[in-house]
């Protein structure tokens, strides 16, 4: 049984990469968020089709000197935080539809 997690950027946001960071504004409450360099890598890879574990393995661990299990734990914490603010949607299946809702898709 797979326990992979998929993450997709919400469509109810405005976002722009500026240098090494990403500015994200929620259309729900106009709150502005800033993602650092590592979070930006995950954000840009959050296409709903790539498992989070693969993003961490292929995009984070190849660029940064960090143990895969620690990187995955940090990444899970990040995307759960983003999901709480409605910036991404999480699912245990690939996400193919545009997403605007808060929280976790099951």
């Amino acid at each position: 049984m797979s326990n992979k997690r998929y993450v997709a950027r919400s469509t109810a946001i405005a976002a722009r990469v500026l240098g090494d960071e990403t500015m994200v504004m929620s259309a729900v409450n106009s709150t502005l968020f800033t993602l650092d360099e590592v979070a930006t890598v995950i954000w840009e890879s959050a296409d709903g089709a790539t498992p989070l574990e693969d993003i961490v393995t292929n995009k984070i661990c190849t660029q940064y000197d960090i143990a895969p299990e620690i990187a995955l734990k940090d990444a899970e914490g990040l995307v759960e935080g983003l999901a709480e603010h409605g910036l991404v949607v999480l699912s245990d299946k690939p996400i193919t539809q545009p997403t605007t809702s808060h929280g976790v898709n099951k």
Binding site: A14, R16, E21, M23, T34
Partner: protein
């Protein structure tokens, strides 16, 4: 009476800010006079207007729900509501109505909201800032209440034309960012000069022990700017427009932090 001519009574008045004429109709001459006085330098009576509001004056004490501003769009209509007013604008006809008591503050808010919505569609915005023209260029001094906007306005030298001490009007004209005078004032209680000039720089204000200017770039510049842009509507389209406008502006116009001692020497840096 011979030798005495009554002042003409108008039932409409046009308030033109940033080159956008908005006509206000009211059957109450006292309200028209109030508008004429409040927006002196920005009023006219021409036939042409981009938008028209019928103003229905309601008795004092009537309120519309809670006090927070709510701005929504619905099928081509903008709905604007606060405890002291209820307004709507039909974009297809460019006509709308305002319900409010006879006071200048409600209308002021409706006009500010209208201009934020109109500017957003053109890459512009209203910014919490004082602004002034010096040597043909506009300088904006931005910050929250208490940051020093009115102080900078009060300290402005005689050769500076003050556009506002509270709300700056930023618009794109021929692909250049321009600052335009507004009648929206703060503690200075004085309407700005109805002038415009290309924007040279935005200073984010901070009071400190010495005068100092530091450049802000990237995310810091955008954060500083977005924190001071007037923002009312919460729908996705508007959020994206304002966000993109702020990013684009910060890419093209220098954003700097101005730490200053509140005396006239700070203006020696503004050239």
């Amino acid at each position: 009476m011979p030798g005495v001519t009554a002042a003409p009574q108008h039932s409409t008045v046009v308030v033109e800010i940033g080159g956008v004429p908005i006509r206000l109709r009211s059957g109450d001459p006292a309200f028209i006079r109030l508008v004429q006085d409040r927006y002196v330098g920005y009023v006219g009576y021409s036939e042409g207007a981009s938008f028209e509001f019928d103003v229905e004056l309601i008795p004092p004490g009537v309120a519309f729900g809670d006090g927070d501003v709510q701005v929504t769009s619905d099928s081509g209509r903008w709905l604007m509501r606060r405890g002291d007013f209820h307004a709507e604008m039909d974009l297809s006809t460019a006509r709308g109505r305002i319900k409010q008591t006879i006071n200048p503050y409600s209308l002021d808010s409706v006009l500010r909201i209208m201009h934020t919505l109109l500017l957003a569609r053109n890459g512009g915005f209203l910014l919490h800032s004082a602004s002034a023209i010096r040597n043909g260029r506009a300088f904006l001094f931005s910050g929250v209440s208490g940051a020093g906007k009115t102080t900078m306005a009060r300290l402005a030298p005689p050769d500076a034309a003050l556009l506002t001490d509270e709300i700056s009007y930023v618009t794109l004209q021929d692909d250049r960012y321009m600052a335009v005078g507004t009648p929206f004032f703060g503690e200075l209680a004085r309407v700005g000069e109805n002038l415009r000039a290309p924007i040279e720089c935005v200073y984010l204000l901070a009071k400190g022990p010495e005068n100092k200017i530091e450049p802000l770039v990237g995310g810091a510049a955008v954060r500083g700017l977005l924190g001071n842009i007037l923002f009312f509507a919460r729908d996705l389209e508007f959020v994206k427009l304002v966000f993109d406008a702020a990013v684009e502006f910060a890419n093209r116009i220098p954003i700097r932090r101005l730490t200053f001692v509140p005396d006239s020497r700070v203006w020696e840096l503004i050239v």
